[in-house]
């Protein structure tokens, strides 16, 4: 027989830990079949260490192949699977079953404010449009020395560290009550990504301040903090927005 190490069950293997049944209620919408979204229940056997994404996979792979959701990395770094879990925006792959109250069903639905395409999938284009609109790239006219990096002190680098963590998952923007109203607001994610460049000492442009100093820009934020609570990367989103507001008032970063 094989001598490979994986022969033995891993520590968290099913033998050692009790499984239990969880009811998952998913807001389904199959285009062409459903006229309106509807709630559908599934019962799945789960381990406490499983994630909500595992539950969705189990349903898709064992019960209903038509269940549709996005996912890729499965550990919270690609930003594919933001969804509303028990009324809050979360990444399915970062939400452990044991952290939810499993005596009650788990409600899962698509994020709000973007056009629903199918089940848990929404059209992300409007979201990326506003990201692209803040000119999220380094703008610097001065040339660094040929073949050399631009110099930046560790303090200057730390200034915008928080907002470089963004994975563009849209959990924040689609949790914002202002974005829900008409979807015209740039939304926290775009502002976070503008912040990342506004406060980068290497960047020489004020254009983003100008873009966000507008009707649908930072002034629409009502500091509801939903974005900060939703961000799976722990970015202090509302803080970043506040800093951009101050920068606009000052006229410079």
């Amino acid at each position: 027989m094989s001598t490979a190490i994986a022969d033995r069950a891993p520590a968290s293997g099913p033998e050692s830990i009790q499984t239990f049944t969880v009811t998952v209620i998913i807001r389904r919408f199959l285009p062409g079949i459903d006229l309106e979204p509807r709630w559908e229940d599934f019962d799945v056997e789960m381990l406490p260490t499983d994630r909500v994404l595992d539950a969705l996979h189990k349903i898709k792979w064992e019960q209903d192949g038509s269940l549709t959701f996005r996912r890729s990395c499965a550990h919270g770094i690609c930003g594919s699977d933001a969804m509303r879990i028990n009324g809050r925006n979360r990444l399915a792959c970062k939400t452990l079953i044991k952290d939810l109250d499993i005596s009650k069903p788990i409600y899962i639905e698509a994020i709000k404010g973007l056009p629903l395409e199918k089940d848990l999938v929404v059209d992300m284009e409007p979201f990326f449009d506003s990201f692209r609109e803040v000119q999220p790239f380094l703008i610097a006219n001065s040339k660094p020395k040929e073949g050399k990096e631009r110099v930046q002190s560790p303090e200057d680098r730390a200034r915008f560290d928080d907002t470089t963590k963004c994975i563009l998952c849209a959990a924040c923007t689609s949790s914002c009550p202002i974005f829900w109203t008409d979807g015209q607001y740039f939304g926290p994610a775009a502002i976070v990504n503008a912040h990342r460049f506004i406060f980068d000492s290497r960047d020489e442009s004020n254009v983003r301040l100008d873009i966000l100093d507008d009707k649908e820009g930072v002034w629409r934020c009502r500091t509801t903090f939903n974005c900060t609570e939703a961000c799976p990367r722990g970015i202090q989103v509302t803080q970043a927005i506040a800093e951009v507001k101050q920068a606009i008032l000052r006229g410079k970063p």
Binding site: N86, R88, E109, P115, D123, N226, Q236
Partner: protein
């Protein structure tokens, strides 16, 4: 910038409606905003009426007193408690918002500040309500 992606902006994507889902379970930040909005609107409509009724002093003392005396009945008295409650919350929370916006660590302590707002609001109401109700209902109690 025109970097619209050719493929993904294709107009053939039908735009389906966003379904009605569960109520978003926001926390202190969201609920304080909801309250701030509701109280703001309530105060605004009160203010409209209040300006009009005060304008009656320009008409005649009789007219003004006639209208104002309706404020003095117990039902309106209770309404005034609501009004002051709304203004109190809106004002205290307004200060909280200003602190979030302008105080370096405001965003860090926003939750703490929300509970402070609630506490101060309770103190305010505790000071105002008995006193006010005594004034309003005073004649019944006395008489």
């Amino acid at each position: 910038m025109s970097d619209k992606t050719a493929g993904t902006l294709a107009p053939h994507r039908s735009r389906t409606k966003v379904p009605e889902g569960t109520l978003y379970r926001g926390r202190e930040g969201m609920w304080s905003w909801v309250l701030h909005r509701i109280t703001g609107v309530a105060i605004f409509f009160f203010l409209l009426v209040h300006i009009l009724d005060t304008a009656l002093i320009r008409v005649s003392p009789e007219a003004y007193n006639a209208v104002i005396s309706t404020y003095q009945n117990p039902v309106m008295g209770v309404g005034e408690v609501g009004l002051v409650g709304a203004i109190g919350f809106h004002a205290l929370n307004g200060i909280r918002i200003v602190l979030i916006d302008f105080w370096q660590v405001g965003t860090k302590y926003h939750r703490l500040m929300f509970y402070t707002v609630l506490a101060l609001w309770l103190v305010l109401m505790a000071g105002f309500v008995p006193r006010h109700l005594m004034n309003v209902f005073g004649e019944y109690w006395v008489g």
